[in-house]
């Protein structure tokens, strides 16, 4: 039982770390603010969802095994953190992109820019 739990949590942590690492690589590779934000805000949200899932699975499994309520609290708080992370990431990414476009940062290598056309 404990070995299975270890394997599941390690797998979830592994997936999460891989996606977070891809976010960092994207930040270094991509040409402008918008594409970099794709890498950093989104890949890291997905990665952090998986690392939080590892905490939730560990907390719930230990709670069922030992019925110690502090593990239930751990799982619930990790779940809340996951939800908040997803929400604030989406809203702040939108705010950043909008602020950048309004202050004259236009996308590099873009094939089209309908927003700039709509403004002019």
């Amino acid at each position: 039982m404990a070995a299975t739990l270890d394997i599941i949590t390690s797998a979830l942590l592994g997936i999460g770390v891989v996606f977070n690492a891809l976010g960092v690589i994207g930040l270094l590779r991509f040409p402008d603010l918008y594409t970099r934000m794709h890498a950093t805000t989104k890949a890291t949200t997905f990665g952090s969802i998986f690392t939080s899932l590892a905490v939730i699975v560990y907390g719930l499994a230990t709670f069922i095994g030992k019925s110690d309520t502090q593990y239930l609290t751990l799982a619930i708080h990790a779940f809340l953190a996951m939800g908040m992370l997803a929400f604030t990431n989406a809203v702040s990414a939108h705010a950043l992109a909008r602020a950048a476009h309004r202050s004259g940062q236009f996308p590099a290598q873009a094939v089209c820019d309908r927003l700039a056309e709509a403004k002019s």
């Binding site: 402008d32 918008y34 934000m37 890949a43 997905f46 309520t69 619930i76 290598q109 089209c112 309908r114």
Partner: protein
């Protein structure tokens, strides 16, 4: 009165979730329950006009809440996974074709637009940059604009998602009151 009750209820449920596992009445201890009620009432009095500014209580109906609870781990998570793999591929290979496109949302309420914009931003590869307040069209920065899409004046929002039709889910959650009726 309704804003006060709604805010108090939500604050109390939030407090209960945060303190689950503290005692013996269900999962909570008596002190936490009493403290939760007091704090929820204080929160309700102070912030009722912030949370319920639009006076739109549509999300309180059980059917819509249930659909929302199915939507987030179901169709939304499928799209999230698929899109993340796509961006991972582009990070590794560097094959991008960025551009800002206009997307016709066909949604009418603020709540619907809000959910669609957030769903678009959270699925990687697409990022909402702006909104046309008159027509409720969204401006989306897409990391890989489809071949020929840059010539079209706008594209339909359901074409952004390949596996599941997320906009129709959002319409069911946030807008349509009954079958076929648009509010």
């Amino acid at each position: 009165m309704i804003p006060f009750l709604v805010t108090t209820g939500i604050a109390f449920v939030g407090y209960l979730i945060l303190t689950a596992g503290s005692g013996t009445i269900g999962l909570w201890s008596p002190t936490e329950l009493i403290m939760g009620i007091i704090l929820a009432v204080v929160t309700g009095v102070l912030t009722r006009n912030f949370l319920c500014r639009s006076r739109d209580y549509r999300l309180l109906s059980p059917g819509r809440l249930l659909r929302l609870l199915v939507y987030v781990p179901g169709p939304f998570f499928i799209e999230l996974t698929k899109a993340n793999l796509d961006v991972a591929y582009r990070v590794i290979t560097g094959r991008i074709r960025p551009g800002i496109i206009r997307v016709r949302s066909n949604l009418k309420t603020d709540l619907g637009i809000f959910m669609l914009a957030n769903s678009i931003t959270l699925t990687p590869g697409t990022l909402s940059v702006g909104i046309d307040e008159k027509t409720n069209d969204l401006f989306i920065h897409n990391i890989n604009v489809g071949e020929g899409d840059e010539k079209k004046e706008y594209i339909e929002s359901k074409d952004l998602f390949t596996l599941v039709n997320l906009p129709s889910w959002i319409r069911k959650i946030a807008e349509r009151d009954r079958e076929g009726e648009v509010s």
